[in-house]
């Protein structure tokens, strides 16, 4: 095994050898040699003692199976994925899954399907191993360990400091007030602060991190430390947690509730309480009483109140607001319990490091996670944060190359002179672009690419390190123009080389607009955090910054307006005012008249107090009320408090009623079928339909198809003779004769694509192709253009739309002049909508109990379980199967499945007008918006024509990600079966082919099924009757989708909602319809459902394949 080149790379002591990219080895190897490398890596990783050796071997194995083996000679495109292995993988039993997959590989030979399963298993195991190590390291940080040992209130070793227990003359207790700036990363460090990375490559983990005060431009008078935490002892044995920004209060009375992170919006505060040691993690599940624990901390009958405030800074600011808040909450609680030397003022270095370690612990407990620079605001000014190689005595020594915690070096006057700091503040405009996206997948991609050391990405990482040095030098000189140049180069160079998805069309349009508007005075762009679109920086010549401050807002809003149907925006963009904070975390003890919580706290908590008689209040409460009243009279910033309180106590009911009305009128306008809706509701409530009822009866025989059931068209694209060539000839003739048209299904809102944000998926500029961001819409037109030009005949292209997508697609096509496509482009407007419903508890339980249910680590599992419980309560409270109306109308209404798309073309006259204009039209190619590799391939069209079938469906050899049905023999008939209809999940794994949804349609034969012909298409009644008759024969599926509900400033909640669908694949079940099935290559038939697929799609050559299919001129 020692001969393995990849193992040698992993174990190399020589740096250059260690950083050899995997491609350098794999590209020249045959399948047999690759499999030998896999065997060597598999043996090596099992024996390796170093955690990072193991992890790198796992990622190498992943990469070989994901990118190198499929397509190699000797590796079958299709192969059985054992269901048992899938179950193990889903349950997080990665080792067992790998063994099962390897066993099948040994018995049946390598296949692309098995490789997809092995790749997923190795990938997950790699990250699972890394996450485990970070967790262990967090626990072994000195100062954190004791909290995991404590298990009984009598053992609680912390006491609240006496200063916080003392009452003043009015009987009130003081409040400890912590203020913390947030951090910005002045260089963008190439995500080198990801723990996994920094712990393996501490030399490359470097960040220039600046603590800043913040204000929203035009709203706040001056920038100030945006993160505040308040701690007070109260006279009730409870833990009262208050988030002023989220408008949430929780009074926690038992221990289990304190560990219930998903129950409310206060998970972050709970995590802080636990990470600070007030309720040490060790007592979880001990059955101890919370009042006993609190009595130990602050005296019998007493409790603690913890209040958080982030000055309404919107979510997604990329300024690490959440982690800074966690650190501030941890710090205030640590100060209050004597875990820091000083109760007030700043923290010393040891204390700051401990606050960082505890914030990490809190992030782990709460199931979130950022980089190690995110608590940077606890430190003052500008600091260089660097990874630290592990040395003997460190808990990480011998396990990882680097330590968990980095080193913070605060830059002094020489390294960052006062003048440079002033210039930075005079040049930089910080903004929130309004997009809020999940950066989690990006962080995984970065880690993966680091571990694989792929050539360009690795060089980019080293280049980014060079840029950091450049920025440090420029900072020393106070040369902001040079900094701007460097950050811009970083963004367009190394950062996008490592992660192409760091940019997006919105950001690039903004940069262009800033360049056009400010010309030479625009010095540079700078990306903050995981990806662009949210928090970003624009650097201007100082004399223009004032103008830029005023103009960037309208500029961003203008571009957002153009793109908001295409990209997920969570809020309107804002511009910040900022100032470097030279103090870091600071605390003050508020006593006497000063001892007041923030204003928002009172609007949340006072209504309850005010409803009580004054004599029922404790002296402390009366004193506080008096002080609040006095503050309202004397503090100018509190002058609006009474009005605000009034609004809270007597809220206006208008908003929700108005929303209800909008929805109703929209439903009327869209021809919502109330009678059908009520029938579905009744069926759903009665249990006649539901997730369980979607399934075919268990006695139905479902088998895999036989070779003679399909047409193997896998190698057709390259074939120059034989059957493929003949078919191609026939297809080309049909195309030249104008017999074909394309139908792209574009009615969907890309629920999964944008996690329920409700944008038009067709318009999403998902990837740069041929040098520019292209939407799905443009990509499909580019392919049609190429075929039309090659054939010398126009090819009509129809996009089916829905109420959600019609207008935006129409506008986008008009604005872009159909992206220069010369042929006819038509829109087929959807006429069928459904109103979403609150799911039934039965269906929710079915979904969670039998869904993919990937086994997750303990803290995360608890979060998930408690979230599920909250959602069940929500469903009961709202009423099972009641109309879902508590959201923007667009989020309540839904298209009702792609089965209706073709009938819509019959009903809305689009097909009729096409046929009138082009009587020669005979065939349609129907495909999903996200099947980006589908085009009007002449060979496949020819085969369809020669088969004389009504419908020919394209299927692809199944891989692990292809879930949701497949091609099967159902009681002897070859047909497509939806995943929803599978009586048991295991059956799907026996099916070789997955439905790509791309369908070749013979128009006349299809019309026949509807009882129509070309002439009767003009008769709306007949059309309606035909559609109704076939619809009645199609099964109705209940599905549960997630929708986002937006509130506050950039906050989003996700709710499961029930909707019903009829699906196109079920047409294959109609006995009178002759259907054929073509097996096509994956690059052609694969659907892009989740942005996390994009990176692999780009790297495995699929993007290049699509690029080749299109004519982008």
């Amino acid at each position: 095994m020692a001969a393995s080149r990849l193992v040698n790379i992993i174990t190399a002591t020589d740096e250059t050898a260690r950083h050899t990219p995997i491609e350098a080895v794999c590209e020249g190897l045959s399948a047999e040699e690759l499999l030998a490398e896999c065997a060597a890596l598999e043996t090596f990783r099992r024996r390796a003692e170093s955690l990072y050796h193991r992890v790198r071997a796992l990622l190498f194995l992943y990469a070989i199976h994901r990118f190198h083996l499929p397509g190699r000679r000797g590796v079958s495109p299709q192969g059985r994925i054992p269901y048992e292995g899938y179950l193990r993988l889903a349950a997080g039993q990665f080792e067992e899954a790998i063994q099962l997959f390897l066993q099948v590989q040994a018995e049946e030979g390598p296949s692309a399907g098995l490789s997809s399963a092995l790749a997923a298993s190795y990938y997950r195991l790699g990250f699972h191993t890394l996450a485990g190590q970070v967790r262990r390291s967090v626990r072994t940080v000195r100062g954190n360990q004791w909290m995991f040992r404590m298990g009984h209130p009598l053992d609680h070793p912390l006491r609240v400091r006496p200063e916080l227990l003392a009452r003043d003359a009015g009987g009130a207790r003081p409040i400890l007030w912590e203020r913390t700036p947030v951090r910005m990363d002045l260089t963008h460090c190439g995500w080198s602060d990801i723990f996994f990375l920094a712990m393996d490559f501490p030399e490359g983990a470097k960040v220039l991190n600046v603590s800043i005060d913040l204000g929203v431009h035009g709203r706040d008078p001056t920038p100030r430390p945006p993160v505040e935490a308040f701690f007070r002892v109260i006279d009730e044995p409870i833990l009262r947690l208050v988030s002023v920004d989220l408008r949430a209060v929780a009074e926690i009375r038992d221990l289990a509730e304190a560990f219930d992170f998903g129950r409310d919006y206060l998970g972050l505060l709970k995590a802080a309480v636990i990470a600070a040691g007030l309720i040490p993690p060790g007592v979880e599940g001990s059955g101890c009483s919370l009042p006993d624990l609190l009595a130990r901390l602050c005296g019998k009958g007493r409790g603690i109140e913890l209040v958080s405030k982030v000055n309404d800074i919107p979510k997604g600011s990329r300024l690490a607001v959440s982690t800074s808040l966690l650190a501030a909450l941890v710090a205030v609680a640590m100060r209050a319990t004597g875990q820091t030397r000083s109760l007030t003022g700043g923290l010393d270095e040891r204390e700051r490091r401990l606050a960082l370690a505890r914030a990490l612990l809190g992030e782990w407990l709460g199931g979130s996670g950022g980089g190690w620079q995110d608590s940077g605001g606890v430190w003052p000014g500008i600091k260089l944060i660097t990874g630290v190689p592990a040395r003997e005595g460190d808990p990480e020594y011998g396990v990882s190359r680097g330590c968990l915690l980095p080193r913070h070096h605060i830059l002094g006057e020489k390294e960052a002179p006062r003048e440079a700091r002033r210039r930075l503040q005079e040049s930089l405009v910080l903004v929130h672009g309004g997009m809020a996206q999940n950066v989690g997948p990006i962080l995984e991609m970065v880690t993966e690419k680091y571990l694989l050391r792929s050539g360009p990405q690795w060089r980019a990482r080293l280049e980014a390190l060079g840029i950091l040095d450049e920025i440090l030098t420029a900072l020393r000189r106070g040369d902001l123009r040079a900094i701007g140049r460097a950050t811009t180069r970083n963004f367009f160079g190394p950062l996008q080389t490592i992660i192409p998805w760091a940019t997006n069309l919105y950001t690039e349009r903004l940069i262009d607009a800033a360049r056009v508007r400010f010309g030479e005075a625009f010095w540079g762009f700078w990306m903050l955090g995981g990806m662009s679109g949210g928090g970003m920086g624009f650097i201007f010549a100082p004399e223009k910054r004032g103008e830029a401050l005023e103009e960037m807002g309208p500029l961003m809003r203008g571009i957002k307006k153009e793109l908001e149907t295409a990209l997920p925006f969570a809020m309107d963009p804002v511009v910040y005012d900022f100032a470097i904070n030279e103090q870091g975390a600071q605390a003050k003890l508020l006593r006497g008249e000063e001892a007041l919580m923030p204003l928002g706290y009172y609007t949340l908590t006072l209504p309850r107090l005010l409803r009580r008689e004054r004599q029922e209040l404790s002296p402390a409460q009366r004193t506080e009320l008096d002080r609040f009243a006095a503050a309202c009279r004397t503090r100018p910033e509190w002058s609006g408090a009474v009005r605000e309180l009034f609004e809270v106590m007597l809220p206006r009911p208008a908003a929700s009623e108005a929303k209800g009305k909008d929805l109703q009128s929209l439903l009327d306008e869209l021809g919502f079928d109330r009678a059908q809706h009520e029938q579905i509701r009744a069926d759903l409530r009665a249990g006649r339909i539901g997730l369980a009822q979607n399934r075919l009866p268990p006695n139905v025989r479902i088998e895999d198809v036989r070779p003679e059931d399909v047409v193997d068209a896998l190698g057709w694209q390259e074939a120059e003779s034989g059957e493929a060539a003949e078919c191609r000839k026939a297809g080309e003739a049909a195309l030249r004769a104008g017999q074909a048209a394309v139908v792209t299904l574009a009615a969907g809102a890309g629920t999964r694509w944008t996690q329920g944000a409700g944008v038009v998926k067709a318009l999403h500029p998902f990837c740069k192709l041929a040098g520019k961001h292209r939407s799905f819409l443009e990509t499909h037109l580019a392919k049609t253009r190429r075929i039309a030009r090659e054939m010398g005949a126009p090819l009509p292209h129809v996009f089916t739309t829905s109420h959600l997508t019609h207008r935006p697609i129409e506008d986008a096509l008009r604005r872009a002049n159909c992206f220069g496509y010369e042929g006819p482009v038509l829109l087929s407007r959807g006429r069928s909508v459904g109103l979403r419903m609150i799911p039934t508890v039965r269906d929710l339980r079915f979904l969670w109990g039998e869904g993919e249910g990937e086994a997750i680590d303990d803290p995360q599992r608890k979060v998930t379980e408690s979230l599920h419980a909250a959602l069940v309560d929500w469903a009961r409270k709202m009423g099972e199967a009641a109309d879902y109306t508590d959201n923007a109308p667009g989020q309540c209404i839904t298209p009702i499945g792609h089965w209706y798309e073709i009938p819509n073309m019959l009903r809305n006259g689009v097909l009729l007008s096409l046929l009138r204009e082009r009587p020669q039209l005979k065939y349609l190619m129907l495909h999903n918006i996200d099947t980006v590799g589908a085009d009007v391939d002449p060979a496949l069209l020819g085969r369809h024509a020669l088969e004389q079938a009504a419908l020919s469906f394209e299927v692809i050899p199944r891989q692990l990600e292809d879930r949701g049905g497949g091609l099967a023999r159902v009681d002897g008939r070859v047909r497509l079966v939806e995943g929803l209809a599978m009586p048991e999940e295991a059956i799907e794994f026996r099916l070789s082919y997955y439905n790509s949804m791309t369908t070749w349609i013979d128009i006349d034969r299809l019309l026949e099924v509807f009882g129509l012909d070309r002439e009767s298409l003009a008769d709306p009644d007949k059309v309606a009757e035909g559609v109704r008759a076939v619809a009645a024969r199609m099964p109705t599926y209940i599905t549960i989708k997630e929708v986002k509900k937006r509130w506050g400033r950039g906050q989003e909640d996700r709710y499961p909602v029930a909707q019903y669908e009829k699906l196109w694949g079920d047409m294959t079940a109609l006995p009178e319809l002759a259907c054929r099935f073509f097996v096509v290559p994956r690059a052609r038939g694969r659907q892009l459902k989740d942005p996390a697929q994009l990176d692999g799609w780009l790297r495995d050559g699929s993007a290049a394949y699509v690029e080749r299919l299109g004519d982008w001129s």
């Binding site: 000195r142 100062g143 040992r149 404590m150 009598l154 070793p157 875990q339 401990l354």
Partner: protein, 295 residues
Amino acid sequence: MKIRKAVITAAGPDQRTLPLQTLIDRDGKAKSALRILAEEAAAAGIEECLVITHRGDAEAYREAVGDCRSWVRFQEQSEPLGYGHAAATAKAFVGGEPFLLMVGDHLYLSQTEERCAAQLVRAAEEAGRPVSAVQQTHESKLPYYGAAGGYPVRGKPGWFHIETVAEKPTPTEAEQTLLVPGMRAGYYLCFFGMHALPPAVFELLEEALAKAEDPRRVRLTDALASLVEREGCLAYEVRGRRYDIGVRYGVFTAQLALALAGTDKEFVLAQLADLLAQTLSGRDPRPASPAGAAD
């Protein structure tokens, strides 16, 4: 180095009555806690002892030491200015000699023939350096004691070089600064309530008092920290137990420990067994046998 003087601090405003508590000692005789402590010192070869009391308490204490009156002196703290100040007032009594410092709210029970104070004095005389008696203590008890961090003296079990000291540390601080190699996780070397100190400690206490914004905050640990820096200190793990009679059920626990280690052990065990049986069964107690009750 010979230690012949001892100082017992008992001036805390909240512990004024503790040394006066009557307990039955191991020999079956009723004594005040202060007398038991004085006898502990005497057994260590102490010839002169000074008890620092709260203002107005000296007389009651004098009564409480009984037969030890001849060699025990009393000195009242002029003002309640904290522990550091109280200890510092013993400077004149101690003079230029090393001395044994004990706290008035602890009682000790040795696990060997040699009593706890005697173990410490012998150890300090042997080492010729300041020595603090320590006990391995679970972190949950950290809020009650001062603690020392350091490392074991090679080849001498039970001896430690002290590097850091902290007064009532949080476990957070303890884990960062007070870890001692070789000890169980979650255990620290906490002070035993007796130290063998050089007279130089008074200077250090005075320095700390002069520097402090609030003299009441000055602890012995402040002076010990300076002493560690200046001349180095050792810790010695005494083979015995300390009982803090100032905590809830402290006197009761100390009494029980004394009784179970003394001549009335059988009787006390029988009483306990009876009490347990009654508690567990809910039945009325049988009349306790007076057998074994010496006087």
